[in-house]
């Protein structure tokens, strides 16, 4: 029987994800993250995502090791696994929340100093604020989706581990 299947699945999924990111970078679609007014928010979200990803692989390696042990007939106690994995799911919530905060910052930038007397300048500020708001939403939801798929794979593997451990025990 093959071992470490969860790790391989996650590696394939994330390699596809990073390939898409590389394609977007080559095409210049990632400039809004690193060069626009949403650059700081983008950097924070990328940092949170990468931290979540590292944590995901650490947890996945533990779940995978437990599955390997179970396949080898060794006893496993998976009771705390799902609790210890839960912060990976919460990373997606954090990413979406940062996006919402970025959206609000963009709105504040858009309406700050709005004056109908100086409509041209107000429209320019509005455009900058909208760029920040929409960029924050786009980045946060994309990363939250990516993290969500990863978490779902980890969650499924953990649930199967618990079922198999109960059946074995």
């Amino acid at each position: 029987m093959l071992n470490n299947l969860l790790i391989y699945r996650l590696l394939i999924l994330n390699m596809i994800g990073f390939a898409i990111v590389a394609w977007a970078y080559i095409k210049g679609h990632l400039e809004i993250i690193f060069k626009g007014d949403a650059a700081i928010l983008g950097a924070i979200m990328v940092a949170v995502f990468l931290a979540g990803l590292v944590s995901l692989f650490i947890r996945a390696s533990k779940v995978s090791t437990a599955l390997n042990d179970l396949k080898a007939g060794r006893a496993v106690n998976p009771a705390k696994f799902s609790i210890k994995n839960s912060h990976i799911g919460y990373t997606g919530v954090v990413l979406a929340t940062i996006g919402l905060i970025g959206n609000l910052i963009g709105m504040v930038m858009a309406v700050h100093g709005f004056s109908s007397a100086d409509a041209q300048a107000s429209a320019d500020r509005m455009a900058v604020g909208m760029e920040v708001a929409f960029s924050a939403t786009l980045i946060s939801l994309s990363l939250a989706l990516w993290m969500g798929i990863n978490f779902q794979m980890l969650k499924t593997a953990t649930s199967l581990l618990m079922v198999d451990a109960r059946d074995a025990g």
């Binding site: 609790i83 997606g92 919402l100 959206n103 939403t137 969500g148």
Partner: protein, 203 residues
């Protein structure tokens, strides 16, 4: 076993609020864009500079009717009309012959003064070719004191509007006589429409 928290629902809830706020921002942006366009249009109107100071415009219904505008003013040796378009004070910008030859059905003539010269003015109308009678003619006199000057311009101000009806072919009528003050205002006591021939006048 502990019930697992559904983070998917939580993310969906945040995403929904996020998109809702983006939509609100988009609607607000559209409102700002509309206000900006209206402002720019108003500014364009305000900064459009007429070619002269005192302006007389006459309009009449579209068709082959040819009405002529005649003008007199202080220091003007000969009244201004289609046969004498350029005076020392007035300039007739266009002699509208009705719908021939014309790119649009709009019938109007206008004249301008260079400078605001106080004194007696007369605006006359002549029914040169009137196949359809009567001919209602709208007359508007407006003033832009700052036309031709550098710097910020005051907006054009309408001084008088009146309506004159020409009832027969060849009829000449005085639309208005008025006295212009040095500050660009019209002496209200001076306004009348006592006939003063201009077309065949000799000073």
């Amino acid at each position: 076993m502990q019930d697992e928290h559904d983070y998917g629902d939580e993310i969906n809830g945040i995403a929904f609020r996020d998109i809702l706020l983006n939509t609100l921002l988009g609607v607000f942006a559209i409102l700002v864009a509309v206000i900006t366009m209206i402002k720019m249009e108003q500014q364009a109107k305000a900064t459009a500079e007429p070619p002269g100071n005192l302006m007389v415009t006459i309009t009449w219904p579209s068709g082959p009717t040819d009405v002529d505008l005649w003008l007199d003013g202080p220091a003007e040796p000969v009244p201004i009309g289609y046969s004498n378009k350029n005076g020392v004070l007035w300039n007739l910008l266009r002699d509208d012959l009705g719908d021939m030859p014309d790119a649009t059905p709009l019938n109007f003539e206008n004249a301008f003064t260079r400078g605001v010269v106080p004194g007696e003015y007369t605006v006359g109308l002549h029914c040169y070719r009137c196949p359809v009678l009567p001919v209602p003619v709208d007359v508007e006199i407006s003033l832009n004191k700052d036309a031709g000057k550098k710097g910020e311009k005051s907006p054009t101000k309408i001084l008088v509007t009146t309506k004159v009806e020409l009832t027969r072919q060849g009829q000449e009528r005085t639309a208005i006589n008025f006295k212009l003050n040095a500050d660009g205002s019209i002496d209200p006591e001076s306004m009348n429409s006592v006939f003063k021939p201009l077309r065949s006048a000799k000073k």
